[in-house]
């Protein structure tokens, strides 16, 4: 089963049961006139840590340690000692931003409770993907996330691969599972845009920003700031990454296309480049996804091939009637 299917199923139920959507041709009634008590039940159906641990064990093996709780936002575990202090620390990090575009149109179609549940489903699915790939969710902004990959016990190259994998999976979820379903319900152009960049040790300052409890352990870095700028240049369902990130990979030609205009001018004759990431090719090439007969991509991460029935091969196989004429 596709690892995002539990999230999609809850979103489907919410859409199918939404009274505003089903009555929209006949009524302009306010949300208050509908019984929306079922929403709470659906919220409880959204997967939690148990699903995350099941998927981790499918991917990493039964011996992988269970996650008992996810770290709190704005408090990266490797730098949490900076909380409520004036101390700072220089350490590399990969900063990444993703959000869902054109999701405001959901308000025209559904009750507020359904929109909230859809948003919660997308955010939880994204948090799931980030944590599955070893990332850390730093901040939630509506239907968007700010995420860090990296820390004190991981290599840059591994964190880079983790970031690309997580964001490719999130993009896949919205571009395929979610979009197909929304389009079949008349909602078009829902898509993600993402930006990812790496700042090295001398380019990233970790610090506590805020007053008292009203603050977060965060980074001050050109490259943390460039990531959302890259996100703004991404195409629909696109992921844009910075030069330092792709420098961590050995094979890049297949996956990255340099954008014609650099993302940053250092004003000393140097420029910083950014690249469109062909995440679909990356998923397939690295065995995180497979393609069907027509080239559609299906996520393979944590996939459990149960309940296979040869009857479902027949519509494709019937076009083949083999012969043998070798001597």
């Amino acid at each position: 089963m596709d690892i995002f299917r539990p999230y999609l199923n809850v979103i489907k139920k919410a859409v199918n049961q939404d009274p505003k959507n089903s009555n929209r041709l006949f009524s302009n009634a306010p949300d208050e006139s509908y019984d929306l008590s079922y929403i709470q039940g659906l919220r409880n159906e959204l997967p939690g840590l148990e699903t995350l641990n099941e998927s981790r064990q499918l991917i990493k093996g039964l011996g992988s340690p269970l996650i008992t709780s996810l770290p709190r936002l704005g408090n990266h575990p490797d730098f949490s000692h900076l909380r409520s202090t004036t101390a700072t620390e220089k350490h590399w990090i990969i900063s990444a931003f993703v959000d869902v575009q054109k999701s405001t149109q959901l308000h025209n179609r559904f009750t507020l409770a359904t929109v909230a549940l859809i948003t919660e489903g997308i955010v939880k699915a994204s948090i799931f993907a980030v944590n599955l790939c070893g990332g850390y969710v730093h901040r939630i902004q509506g239907d968007g996330l700010m995420v860090y990959f990296g820390g004190k016990n991981i290599e840059k190259s591994q964190a880079t691969k983790d970031a690309l994998k997580a964001f490719a999976m999130i993009s896949f979820f919205v571009k395929n599972d979610l979009k197909d379903y929304f389009e079949s319900n008349g909602i078009k152009d829902i898509y993600t845009r993402s930006g990812i960049d790496l700042g090295h040790d001398n380019q990233v300052l970790w610090m506590y920003s805020g007053i008292g409890e009203s603050g977060e352990v965060t980074t001050c870095s050109l490259h943390t700031s460039l990531a959302p700028k890259m996100q703004a240049t991404a195409s629909s369902n696109g992921i844009v990454v910075g030069q330092y990130l792709i420098n961590q990979l050995t094979s890049v030609d297949k996956y990255f296309n340099r954008k014609s205009k650099p993302i940053w001018d250092y004003e000393d004759g140097r420029f910083y480049d950014h690249y469109d990431f062909n995440w679909e090719r990356y998923l397939v090439d690295n065995n995180f996804a497979v393609q069907n007969q027509t080239g559609d991509i299906l996520l393979n991460v944590g996939y459990n091939s149960k309940h296979l029935n040869p009857v479902n091969l027949s519509p494709i196989a019937k076009n083949s009637k083999p012969y043998f004429d070798f001597k």
Binding site: N292, P310, K318
Partner: protein, 221 residues
Amino acid sequence: MNSRLRRDVSEFLNLYYNFNLVDINRNGSVILEGQINIVDVLGSIWDTCYKVQILIPHLNYPNAIPEVKEVSKNIKRDWDFHISENGICCLAIPHKLILAERSGIVLIKFYQDFIYPFFVNHQHKLKTGKYVNGEFEHHEKGILQFYREELKTNDLKFTKKIIEAAIGRIKIGNNDQCPICNTGKYKKCCKAKADSILKYGLKRIKEDLNIYEIIILGITN
């Protein structure tokens, strides 16, 4: 490589990410290598995947038929699996391939119509013991089976006469009494059948006639 082949290969590689170009010209063919994963119509992913090479001839492309070599050895080298010792897959009866060749192939469509279904059908055979739509018998018997199904007759001599009429070995006017079954004017009797097999090309049906002559002679003797 002609421009049509270059374009088709490029479009193929931009759609199927698991395939790579390994040689532009090896013995007159472009060689693509990649992996075929089996995904059924419900989107379920099956465990077995096949590493294959697709050899696409430069000559006459798009009027050419690619050859497919299964290199992962996930198909047992056995006649019953329609594969040669060195992994060449017998995708279809030659007549179907000739039709594709004559009308000109598009690589992506050829993959979807012939290559992918062959491997899905192999999975089906492994799981159920049979190919979904049956299979052709081996060698000459398969050709006889093809005509038997195409012309809907078990009569070898009748089929032979149809082939002879198709290639013009028997000269028959449209309004002549049909010499094959003697039941009316040729144009209203067997002409449609003779015309229908002409689409496989004279070269092929002459070879088929040869098979019929040998087999009928063997039965007679």
